[in-house]
Point group: D3
Chain length 294, copies 6
């Protein structure tokens, strides 16, 4: 291409930048996906020593753990600070307030890791008990996409609770791209959760899921419809996704919609079922196939 052609395309592209308000100049870099992914993998290596990453010393050596946790604390601080500060109009000369706040949140997050590890141990147990093809815990940890998606969700959810924006979403979207399982970091999920196969699973922002719940591939826990206010704008708050009580099993391809929909404790929802209303505890909802043979 000749320089004048390039100049014309550059001018047009630049005009396109201005036309629509999607570009904003910033003093700080946004958190980029690559760093967030590295953060996830460092977290996984800390939570599951000897399974992932380079093996560093014995598992019962507390100093190794302290070093890794110290690293994680700073990685978290930087990521959180990038998010909270990237809209600041000017570099914060002595405005260490945002920084201190980021460090405080990062410390909270790191402090939650032992509890997250306990929850994941129960998820692993649930997977082993829920799938006859799972020979042992090693296989679940090394080869089950459901466990990876749940781990990333549990970590992202903790950041979400700390009021951190964007990073939890980038985290769960990374898990989504790897596993096909799309869990919003805002969802609330109990212990011993198991997702089998998982591709196509969607769990919306305001879902509440109890303990010992098991779901299969293609299950959607979504919104029924999107209300708008009087000005025609989306109503972005409010509970839009269903509640799943303890001990529920939802088979592949089932779709459960609506913020007021409650699946009662111990229910079983059959494959491909389409549910937009509540069912009482202990229900068995099956798809009555209407197929024809020719």
């Amino acid at each position: 291409m000749r320089l004048d052609e390039l100049a014309r395309v550059a001018k047009d592209l630049h005009d396109a930048f201005l036309e629509k308000p999607v570009l904003e100049l910033r003093g700080h870099a946004l958190p980029d996906q690559q760093r967030v992914v590295a953060f996830i993998h460092e977290l996984r290596a800390t939570l599951f020593p000897s399974y992932f990453g380079t093996f560093r010393g014995e598992g019962d050596d507390l100093t190794c753990l302290m070093e890794q946790l110290g690293d994680l604390f700073w990685a978290a601080t930087r990521l959180i600070h990038d998010t909270v500060s990237h809209r600041c109009p000017a570099p914060c000369h002595d405005g260490c307030e945002a920084f201190r706040e980021s460090a405080r949140r990062a410390a909270e997050f790191v402090g939650k890791l032992p509890r997250i590890r306990q929850a994941l141990a129960m998820d692993i147990q649930a997977a082993h008990e829920g799938d006859p093809a799972a020979r042992d815990h090693d296989e679940v940890i090394l080869a089950y996409p459901g466990l990876f998606a749940i781990m990333v969700y549990r970590l992202a959810h903790e950041l979400h609770l700390q009021g951190v924006r964007l990073i939890p979403r980038i985290m769960t979207e990374y898990a989504h791209s790897i596993t096909g399982i799309d869990i919003h970091p805002g969802a609330r999920i109990g212990h011993s959760f198991f997702i089998d196969h998982g591709t196509g699973v969607v769990i919306g922002e305001t879902c509440e899921i109890g303990n010992n719940v098991k779901i299969y591939q293609g299950v959607t826990l979504g919104a029924l419809s999107i209300p708008r206010d009087e000005q025609g704008n989306l109503v972005r708050d409010g509970k839009r996704h269903p509640t799943i009580e303890d001990d529920v099993v939802i088979y592949a391809g089932a779709t459960i919609l609506g913020g007021e929909t409650v699946i009662g404790r111990g229910s079983v929802i059959g494959g491909n079922v389409w549910l937009i209303e509540s069912v009482p505890p202990g229900s068995k909802v099956l798809n009555r196939p209407t197929i024809e043979m020719r």
Copy 2:
């Protein structure tokens, strides 16, 4: 393994190469996936400066844009030339015709980037308006797989229109592997298109989609059946996939098949609906659940 064992396996494998006509020697390398992926990411960094890639100068500096566009022009030329020339029987000594043609197509493609950027701005707007969970444009750009799949489609479609083969398919299959959204580069899609969650979406080669269309995860816009000619060969041409008019919403898991199927403007297609015939504008097609409680 001993050398004679290896020699025997090598002989058998080599015979397998010859047996079936899937290997052809070439003077040129095929475009490899790694280079195509790098091309996609360079395009994204040019279209969304400050969101992706290294930050190079201010956004309103035309010379940075010109340099990036010059780079993209040459990357496109090399990729296109690899595709058109890899079946040439001999190296083209002075046969610069294929090369000039490749450069011409690459220049056309680069010239279309401003328009593609405008279309993507409208897609971002549509995502923000269509999903209450989307807090702002930044989140859509950084964390929505649907936007990534649509961006790659819009770029690949432009190369498809230039008659470039293989590269557009490798591009959209990369987006497919990342997002679970499979859009054929031959499809025609209007502005303000939004795909939410997206895993399992399939949009076939001869689809036509209007403006302001919104679709959810698991939606298939596919072929009804595959006709064969009198010799039993597949008929590879003709419109095999449906037409979706403006302002249509298609909920999760719906399947719409057939080249003559037209979903009229403003229609709403419910989740898991199975549609193989046209519906008039303004239709609301819902799945009547046939579930039973036990």
Copy 3:
């Protein structure tokens, strides 16, 4: 974080490790995913020279093949040995038995590559004949996720038959994460197998699939229910997934469950069909849509 805070978190995290029996110290490293992925790509470059990887010499040069096969043999030996030995209580000073056994299995595996290549040639042929959008074999090899998933399955299945654990599962889960197609390495699949689009496909551990079978995205060949023995433990053995005879086509989203379910030769299963019982050869099972227009 202050050191005493870190020490407390490290202590808690360490306690969490001990609490649940998911961590075991080992003398050997487990096979890590990165090495398994490198192994897959090296295998692909050997099976499809000139399509993938660096081009090394002419395709009809047996010595290049011998060198690549020799490399693959050692990579396979190391991977297999890591798996079989990682639970050994002590380093095996002269216990070369496990090593010799690993080398024997690796040699068996390498010896099967020519046959696997033949099977893949037939799969490519089937894809080209089964999809009007596939212009030639090159496009199938370079851009069809179904072919990638089947290739990884055929390689993993061979290791599974050799009694190798974990590695086949890591292999097929990698293909799952790239393609959304989840095939258990234990499944048995005939020649000329074609999966189109593929996202969401699940093929269970004890499935048996004949020749010339074609399936579309979202198809589940799964277990109907999970029996438990008298102690309440899962029964992990037995045939739990369906049998698909030759020449069957299964359209998108169909769910077929149960170890005793047999889809007779030449049947066509329609999209979104839910099948938990056998159908005779030549059946056409269609979903009778029960939609309502409003």
Copy 4:
């Protein structure tokens, strides 16, 4: 470290930045070493196809060359533009003058590559003729650090002649770090130049070296002393380094200093000789060893 300790160190470090005038904020990125190194390797792959880099098509295929040259042109344009523009006070909205100038210089540079290739062919010939240990041209190209240093010098010198700053210096310092041979891009060197072993060679900015010159490791062609002007500042211009006429050989460790020092055509300078004045053509200057045996 506690946050307040970190804040104090950060404050001190920041003060150190301000104290000494070595930091300047810029609108543009400086050319970083990594990109310059990539540029060198891309140039080498273009000048020596089949020896370095991925093999792309036959050597007599002009279109491959055109594509590579087009890539190099843009890489050169970006590098040059970064250098000339990084001190600009503001982003150059329409000030494409600096950009056009960069592109013009890049085109000049690319246009010189054939001549540089010819010169390198003569350097290779000289190395083969000058070293009995060199078995063939391949060994010189693949394993002689002297050739690498001379190649980088010839490329950097051409940019230096175009008035480009910093990049030529980063280029020759990269060669220096790899080979131990430090040639300033400002030096002027004739054809058929050979450096053997090379570690410790220094060739200053204003050296002039004729044709068919051969030098060994540890040879310094340097400045005698550094004059200062009346204000005590260094006089940075003027010829400070020696002139070496055609057909001269300089053995290991010799030191030749001074801008007026001329080594006459055909001279031989012995190892470890220390020379600060001119010698006529045909001289043989030997170190008279003054060693003692004990």
Copy 5:
């Protein structure tokens, strides 16, 4: 190779391991060179923001600095702890003492960075003033190997003062491999130090160098001889290398040896001079060439 051949070689190699006491099993990993190199580059990016590494926010933003310093603190802690603990017989369950000590040293080190930055600013100034070929400070920072070697030395020296072993040596050997300048971390060097070209410079462990010293390539400041004690073992302590007072210039190839050798303030040592005794302040020591012309 057949398995029995491999087994024999493995046996022999293993015996070789045992024969000589150079291998010791360890509970912890040694600090590997790759991590040390990454540490150096992270330090350089912190000391010279906008020259090296990714550009993160404005230079006068203290929070960015705090984040980087926090990262460096943890990287230093891990490196130091690996060194001190790699000979521990067992994993230190609650022996946090070594860890606390490592963290304390790391904090000391990070606290010294502002002072190191000030010293480097003076080194840069000295280089610019000492070399007429240096056009500005940017060129010194980006392209002078001497500055890189001095920077690494100043950082390594600080760790050496903290009693850290191995890491400082790995650091300066990395600089040695890049620049050909070999400075032992134990040497003591004043401000405004300049090394020009530098290949072959050796500065020994017990050297003392004053302020405003300038040295050229090939200068050795070494040990005269190595005394042994009565048992014939090396005496590893004591001052073995010379003292260079302020304002001394040492030209290329000069060799100065001996722990009692003192080069008096303001002296000039000529090229290739061989000095093993002290010279008073203000000396000019020149090599009287003893060459012969033939």
Copy 6:
């Protein structure tokens, strides 16, 4: 640049390729430097387990060693085969002779590794005894460039003895670029060899060095002059470099030249000495400094 300009440059560059006989088309790739470097690092990790590379199992586990040796065997086979076959006019259909020969040489090479390891243990011992600054064996292994250069030489020399060309030279040139120590793979060197600092050391192709020799930086063991035959061609064979007998020490910067020069057992050669004739056993050759004080 416009396409016609590029075409002209490509034409000129292509003509330059043809003009000088330095480019030859090949059926096989030459061994590229990157693979050779990887080979060196894999060898080092095998010879020094727990010092370099990933830690794989205990050091006394023979099976780990067998696996690594098997990998090295194949890597060596491929490298050797590339070298011997890259001039073959055509792909060798059944000409497995060259391949078998390569495998045989690779097996010989691998079989020599235990002996090379023993030699290196003695070199490490010599370094520790020869340098008071070396605190322990770990420091020698991790931070002494001399040991690295000697290790690469010992490995390359073994390949050289097998008649392998190019690869040994690429290996020692890699060590040269890292350490500044240039040892030709053809040299013959006894046990317990120590090079201190090392930058600038040159050891020529036909050198013979006895046991317990120690040399310092800048020492050249080179050729005196290069004889030509009656046609004026270089005489490439014959002993051109000196012989150094056992227990000799050569201090920094000494130059010893000539194929007939023999340094007798137990001699000490002083720094910067220039020697072109033999000295008897037990000689002490010192540089008598001829400096003047002004």
